[in-house]
Amino acid sequence: MKILKFITAGSVDDGKSTLIGRLLYDTDSILDDQLEAIKKANRKNNDGTVDLAILTDGLKAEREQGITIDVAYKYFQTENRKFIIADAPGHIQYTRNMITGASNSDLIIILVDARKGVIEQTKRHSFLAKLLALKKVLICINKMDMVDYSQEVFETIKADYQVLAERLELKDVDFMPVSALKGDNIVNSSAHFDWYDGPSLLSYLETVEFDEVDDQAWRLPVQWVVRPQTDELHDYRGYAGRVVGNGLKVGDEVVILPSSVKSKIKRIELAGVDLEKAEDGQSVIVHLTDHVDISRGDTIVAAHDAGLVERNVEANICWFDNKALDTNQIYLFQNFGRTTKVKINEIIHKVDINNQEYKYGEPIALNDIGRVQIKAADDLSFDLYQDHQATGRGIIIDPRTNLTVAAVMIESVA
């Protein structure tokens, strides 16, 4: 059983929190005392049923305003899978929170109101899904009860969306009719959709699989050097990190970046147990055949596919800070354990996230997305985001405030 991480997106009134509440409620993931607290809070829908949205609005300010401000993570489990939901706000002023949630998800559910169809917000969220290269998009056409469960409405919206998906080059898109409020097609299929023969939302989530990228060469960003320095383990020197990609095994020829020193894998340990090979995502300790100088921030990579070492890159960035991007300022770029001084010395273009048009000569400010050129003070070791997501991304930190001011996806060498 693997974990599925997904995010739900939609505008304030699309019933996103209701959908999550419904999933939790109908899978018995909400317990009596939590339900009691909801009833006590006395938030009702117009038809008198309990407002399930309150389950995900964890902050006082959110409950007061009836909107989601920050990402909330919710958990539920069935016989078949463990699920982690990032419930993110849909409003444009919280784009940064949505990107945060999406960055930790494999799949995005975009809710579309059956009465409104594809709107600006749908386009924006779809663009973000493309930008972050999420593995799958599920379009849930919601509030079908308000349009008499009409197949025609569903098909029209689906066709509209397919035009958008084609323009954005979104490859893996599925469609589904639901009513989160009424519980139609959420856990069980609904008699109201006699024209729909696909799975319910839950059975879709339980069975959805992604294309595994198994030709991805492994990388091991070193987080920590384990050196017991005791009498019996005097020469023990292990490099601890979480494996990215596949194929790491004992005997592999390796290169240490950015120094480009060569060595070989002598031993792989997983919590004290020796392994012949390690897989993607495992937190291991490796030993090398040679005594080489390695510290946190270095990356051990497969010699046959070592990735890139450069100082100038082009990247897509999402800006999160109230202070706009300053092309004269020094920022810090952090990717897997390495922090490097950088300048974002050129804004190539900005993207209007509502219609995806490029804009030139404009500043990049809060919630903006754009293409920039980054110049680093030292060598960066990385991959391109489209090739290896885990090593093709990073964050920008403003050293004056220490805040995370941008997400970075490296698109090319400049």
């Binding site: 059983m1 693997k2 974990i3 317990l31 009596d32 005392d33 939590q34 607290a37 006590k40 809070a41 995900t56 609005d57 964890g58 902050l59 006082k60 300010a61 409950r63 401000i69 920050d70 990402v71 909330a72 993570y73 919710k74 958990y75 463990k82 982690i84 940064r96 990107i99 945060t100 960055s103 930790n104 987080q223 920590w224 384990v226 050196r227 017991p228 601890a240 990190g241 979480r242 919590a271 004290g272 897989e279 995502g281 495992q282 937190s283 946190r296 810090l332 990717n335 897997f336 354990g337 885990a390 991304r393 964050i395 930190i397 050293p399 405030t401 220490n402 805040l403 995370t404 997400a407």
Partner: protein, 296 residues
């Protein structure tokens, strides 16, 4: 990798990030199952080396004796450093005033002792066993959660936390609370404890105990509960599902003596884990309010 392997690998990764990013971190140890799980994960992250941090226990003075015995046993087993901050010291120094009345608890006072202990030792990061599934305010918290120099959490100004890249950069006086098991649920923790054969304090398992019923909850009949003639002391088979101190942690009726029984009990339960915490019942936003003050 199955889902427990995935959770474990992520938590070890986070623990190593703490080691790599901070000068002087600490692991907050309560003696509860979540912080015991953290210690187990730290063993996996850093052995055969030593932990790059001490364990810190905030002792309210109202702990279950079993918890303290377990703590001392564990420290002896793993040979790591333990620092204890005493709420009694904060009371004696006049920094906090003990609550009055029948339901008085030191739960709120321990925040002051915690913040003092952090300040005295100059900890820049404190690792805790909080999980997002526990409570709705915790569902909003980052893995690396920055606290200002007053120890406060500002839920509206949290840093975006992207992918698995954690920004541990802080300004002077600030510190970071780190939650490596954010993505675990109560059931995940129990399944993991079973798989890894982790030893727990005996109070998690069914035992005979003198209890009183207060506000609809079964409380251990401890001297700090201000027991008077209205309270009826009974002996029951109970266990504790969550372990705070004796004034705020309620027992549940249970015959579960083995991990399998406990897992079956949790799966069948219709009440959440924190349903047995009096400290959460103060108001709708009890946890959010306490977190803003510096609580976990």
């Amino acid at each position: 990798m199955d889902y427990l392997d995935q959770l474990e690998a992520e938590s070890i990764y986070i623990l190593r990030e703490v080691a790599g990013q901070f000068e002087n971190p600490a692991l907050l140890f309560s003696g509860g199952k979540d912080s015991i799980t953290l210690v187990h994960l730290a063993l996996k992250a850093f052995r055969p080396g030593k932990f790059p941090f001490p364990l810190v226990h905030i002792d309210t003075g109202h702990n279950f004796p079993e918890t303290i015995a377990y703590r001392d046993w564990l420290i002896d087993q793993i040979g790591e450093k333990l620092i204890v901050g005493y709420v009694q010291d904060s009371i004696d120094a006049g920094k906090v005033v003990e609550q009055k009345g029948k339901n008085a608890s030191r739960n709120a006072l321990q925040t002051v002792t915690l913040l003092d202990t952090i300040a005295e030792n100059g900890f820049d990061a404190c690792i805790g066993g909080a999980r997002r599934d526990e409570e709705k305010a915790r569902a909003k918290e980052r893995v690396f959660s920055v606290r200002d120099e007053f120890g406060q959490w500002d839920p509206k100004r949290q840093r975006p936390e992207l992918w698995n890249i954690f920004n541990g950069k802080i300004n002077k006086g600030e510190n970071v609370r780190v939650f490596p098991i954010s993505n675990w649920t109560e059931l995940d923790v129990w399944n993991y404890i079973k798989r890894e054969n982790i030893q727990l304090p005996s109070i998690y398992f069914s035992h005979e105990r003198e209890v009183i019923t207060r506000n609809g909850q079964l409380m251990a009949a401890a001297p700090f509960l201000n027991i008077d003639e209205e309270d009826v002391i009974e002996t029951k088979s109970v266990r504790f599902r969550t372990v705070g101190d004796m004034t705020c942690t309620a027992a549940v009726d249970s015959e579960a003596t083995a991990l399998d029984d406990i897992i079956a009990e949790i799966k069948a339960s219709t009440v959440s884990e924190r349903g047995a915490r009096m400290d959460d019942k103060v108001s709708e936003a009890a946890m959010e309010d306490r977190k803003k003050q510096g609580y976990f």
